[in-house]
Symmetry: C2
């Protein structure tokens, strides 16, 4: 209702209602409803106060009485007003304080000029045109029943496309029946942990690499009541002899490129992990988080292919395409397919249908291969720029885990701590981040994580030069 | 590797490898890897058995020795083979039994000719062209940063579009800061229950309407350790006096169109529910599941507008557009926004970015209003066809809850049970479903739920006629 003019002396003014705008569109009674509702909410009409008889308000507003009656009835139905004996209409709901303004966000440190933060896939390279082509084909061609409630496990067409892709590119043993589609890695471990937690047996810990990602498995396992057991990580991934004495429900592992230190688990170690898992009836959760980005040699096949009944393989489109897609997949030992699907149904009924079909089309059309062929040299050049800059400006930093992925670790020279490096970097607008927050128990050398995927070669070189100049 | 011909007497035959196909594309060493990997997996190469020296296999296959060395090295890295002192290469991983075939699905009863099952939005009417236009605009125009990791709470553009839509159409008091985007109703109640469960105080029950939907709140609340308290439902929604004595953490409510019985909670009852919630510090969870489909009068404003600090309002695109979109929203009391967002981040990091932006564009362009204007008369005609058919063929059935939604309930005449009606209907290929599975504790009359949204008027009439002919 416009705030243009009032009707002096009339009932509408008592109600602080503006005049009706007959040009505004929408029925007149809706305009009246809206005004009264606002007056109640804002406290201009107190609880218990009477409204003018409908006849009086109608005359005041110059509308027929039926219009006001309709407005009152609607507001009675909504609980703002009550009709009382004698034809009185009163305000029955109290005003609501306007929601308090959101607290001011905490002061942020000045934005880094060059931020080597991890996890920043270069989304400016997202293949928008190809993705739109897949969406168009899906919306043009997919039968309507695909748009109904999803199956929980995932659309069969996507599961078939994923099985073909993973068997071809990742050396898995994948049957579409053993795949569950999900919203990405975080949801995958969430669902698997919830299934493990539902097991009535004694609850063994969940083992993680130490250091490892701290924002999904750690809080999820703890929230589900599991203890965390850290398995120390060395140059070549986890310390397998340390597994020997461990009795764990599951081991979450990044065998092809340990996160964050970049080690590759050796063949012997992989076989030993599988033997351990078979001996102790543990589940190996293989986080294949950046398998598609290896630069200096062929990709290493997934561990899942060695022991499909012991390994749950998890992948997603977050690193290869864009995190915002929220599409991931699990390739599971068959005994876990039904319970994980049930957990997915309870969590969100299943992943979005159109997105799933678009990814299936995108995979089947070879677009993911094409995109990866384009991205690998781009990321490789950025990695090379980072390695050159480190060699030039910070020759006593020791880079590790450089063969793959979207980040590397640089071990620091003696006497330089992660905190000191972070602080010095921040002073010159460079964001670098130590490993310590990813360490569960095992101590280890001081190191910084450099994410490079979304930075240009020039920015990378500048950032390292700035950092070198700022260090004590 | 093709199964065309073998190389008699050579090492390749010992390995049961087929000949190399130089036309097949892909490097030769990858073909060899694939064959050996398959032989190990299928058990044709036993654990511990030796492979031929690379020189011998190379000669046998007619390739250079380097090709075989590369293949062996890759398989060593993957853990299938080990290199041993003296240059021997052995199989180190055991074969995996092929995954057991999936068990045959249980025999299904013959598909119903006419299925009045609930929850079948007519997805054949999904506005594909308009949705594709929104997707195209998003993929053409949205800045890349929207494709990165999502915020958990939801894209600001969608939250602003939803607040405007809900305030206009549903009479809510919505600020974009109080909205959390999610995957639909099931995820919304999942997240809210997980937040309530994290409260350290004594755990009060979660109250639900009796009868009510049995496949989300019931199992989720129980899994989180809450008792369920049923509030009996009458002709006009829940029995509010029964609330008086109830001490519950939350009350899950369908005030505008009780599910499944269709009652509308009166103004007095709404105000009383709010007073109860304020007195007992309970949360009212308002499931506004089919607010957009009212046929005989204007929509009733959401309860949230009466008490934004006590009511969590839940809506989704599942009934208005398509369940397969998996897009829903929560409008929360401000104190719940941060914990529910944190729960969403842990669950799946946030809803898909492109879908969120597409819905924002779709809402801002007025496409949802347009779609609803098109769908209301369509569903209304189907409802009218159902009411006519019931009046004609089953005049002693008493329809209820007919003013809105995508289903109605028909109360059965004395002497006819839900089971008897279901069985008789199934014999003639008609699917109808009793209320009893949705009753928690409170007894109530016998009734059948008729979903009509995805059936043509003709099919509806035929189905009711068939049912009438089949009843005892």
């Amino acid at each position: 209702m416009p705030k243009v003019r009032t009707n002096p002396g009339g009932a509408a003014t008592d109600l602080h209602l503006g005049a009706l705008d007959r040009e505004a569109g929408g029925p007149l009674h809706r305009q009246i409803e809206r005004s009264i509702r606002a007056a109640v909410r804002e406290g201009r009409l107190a609880v218990g106060s009477s409204l003018p008889p409908s006849r009086v308000l109608a005359a005041s507003l110059g509308v027929s009485r039926g219009v006001v009656v309709a407005a009152y009835e609607q507001l009675v139905a909504e609980g703002y007003l009550t009709s009382q004996a004698g034809g009185y209409t009163r305000v029955s709901a109290g005003p609501q304080a306007a929601p308090a303004a959101a607290p001011a966000p905490p002061p942020r440190r000045p934005a880094a000029v060059v931020d080597f933060g991890y996890g920043r896939t270069d989304v400016s390279q997202f293949p928008r045109a190809a993705w739109l082509r897949s969406l168009r084909r899906v919306l043009t061609e997919a039968p309507s029943e695909h748009l109904g409630y999803t199956s929980g496990q995932g659309d069969p067409r996507l599961r078939a496309a994923l099985a073909a892709y993973l068997n071809r590119v990742r050396g898995t043993v994948a049957d579409p029946d053993d795949i569950v589609v999900c919203a990405g890695y975080a949801q995958a471990v969430n669902l698997i942990i919830s299934v493990l937690a539902a097991d009535p047996g004694p609850r063994r810990p969940i083992a993680v690499e130490d250091p490892s990602g701290n924002d999904d498995v750690w809080p999820l396992a703890r929230a589900a009541g599991f203890a965390l057991a850290g398995v120390p990580v060395g140059e070549h991934g986890i310390d397998v002899p340390a597994l020997g004495t461990l009795d764990a429900e599951a081991l979450v592992l990044t065998p092809s490129h340990q996160w964050p230190t970049g080690g590759v688990l050796s063949a012997e170690a992989r076989a030993a992990v599988v033997r351990w898992a078979q001996r102790t009836a543990a589940l190996v959760v293989e986080d294949d988080y950046d398998a598609e980005y290896r630069y200096d040699r062929a990709a290493i096949g997934a561990m899942q292919g060695l022991a499909p009944d012991r390994v749950a393989y998890l992948g997603s489109a977050s690193k290869t395409l864009a995190p915002g897609l929220r599409l991931g997949w699990m390739l599971l030992p068959r005994r876990l397919v039904a319970p994980v699907t049930a957990a997915k149904v309870l969590a969100d009924r299943g992943s979005p249908a159109i997105d799933q079909l678009a990814l299936a089309d995108f995979l089947d059309a070879g677009e993911l291969d094409r995109h990866l062929r384009r991205m690998r040299p781009l990321y490789r050049r950025r990695r090379d720029a980072l390695l050159s800059a480190l060699a030039r400006h910070l020759p006593d930093f020791r880079p590790a885990g450089v063969a793959a992925g979207q980040h590397l670790v640089a071990w620091l020279p003696p006497g330089l701590t992660e905190e000191a490096a972070e602080r010095a970097a921040a002073r010159v607008g460079v964001g670098v981040y130590g490993i310590r927050q990813y360490r569960l128990n095992a101590p280890g050398p001081q190191g910084l994580i450099f994410g490079y995927a979304s930075l240009s070669e020039r920015t990378i070189a500048e950032g390292v030069a700035l950092l070198a100049g700022a260090l004590p």
